[in-house]
């Protein structure tokens, strides 16, 4: 068990502010020196689509935050294999390098982290 933080992101970039506010706390945690891993589940994998532009009127895009993650030493991005397939995506076409995990790995990650936040 580690005190590292796992942030689970289950919403796509547009239509709500869940993704943005989940990424916000990830950056704050990293800035405070916590080791942060992100897990993209369900529609959350769409956060990693390349070629994103600004969202609905007035909504800032989240893609620039994804691009900044390595500057914050957030380099462990976990993506569920089944959810990628469901969205018709392949890991190689995403805008950043990810670690593709299976459903079994999800529960292992949850057990491994003492701190989990779910968005």
């Amino acid at each position: 068990m580690t005190a590292d933080l796992l942030v689970i992101l289950r919403h796509g970039p547009y239509g709500s502010s869940w993704l943005r506010e989940g990424l916000d706390i990830s950056l704050v945690a990293a800035a405070f020196g916590q080791k942060v891993s992100l897990m993209f589940l369900g529609e959350g994998v769409l956060a990693l689509m390349p070629g994103q532009v600004k969202g609905a009127p007035g909504q800032k895009a989240t893609a620039p935050i994804i691009d900044m993650l390595t500057m914050y030493d957030i380099d462990r991005l976990l993506v569920c294999r089944d959810d990628l397939q469901r969205m018709g995506l392949q890991a190689e076409e995403l805008c950043v390098a990810v670690e593709v995990i299976s459903g079994e790995n999800i529960s292992a990650e949850l057990t491994h982290h003492s701190n989990v936040l779910n968005f």
Partner: protein, 130 residues
């Protein structure tokens, strides 16, 4: 056991905040300690001083305040999520040249770092989200 709650649902729109309140009352009844409730995302609306539900409905803000008064539970509100949703205390209202404010003690505007600190300090952080 020391608990903290993370509330991300607006009152009267979703069950999340209402469930959080009942959970808070239940763990205190069981003899546990509720250190703080942290309001993030749409949960910040729970802190609105101007909330005016019909008299025969539960007044969410006042019920959170009762929890604070009776048990010392801190009521902490993410400042970034609050300001963009129109939840400002007197100091922030002045800073942003607003004619009114909508958040008062015992609710406190604070940063996301405080949520991470709560997660570190407490035995359990329980999330209530729609």
């Amino acid at each position: 056991m020391h608990y903290a709650l993370l509330v991300m649902g607006a009152p009267y729109s979703h069950q999340a905040a209402h469930s959080a309140l009942r959970f808070a009352q239940a763990i205190i009844r069981k003899g546990h300690h509720l250190d703080a409730v942290f309001f993030y995302h749409d949960g910040v609306h729970n802190a609105s001083t101007l909330m005016s539900p019909p008299q025969d409905e539960l007044h969410m803000r006042n019920t959170w305040v009762e929890l604070h008064d009776a048990h010392g539970t801190r009521l902490e509100v993410c400042i970034a999520a609050a300001l963009r949703r129109g939840l400002l205390d007197a100091q922030e209202a002045k800073r942003h040249a607003k004619t009114a404010h909508s958040l008062e003690a015992p609710f406190e505007l604070t940063g996301l770092g405080q949520l991470l600190e709560l997660q570190r300090q407490c035995d359990r952080l329980i999330t209530f989200a729609p």
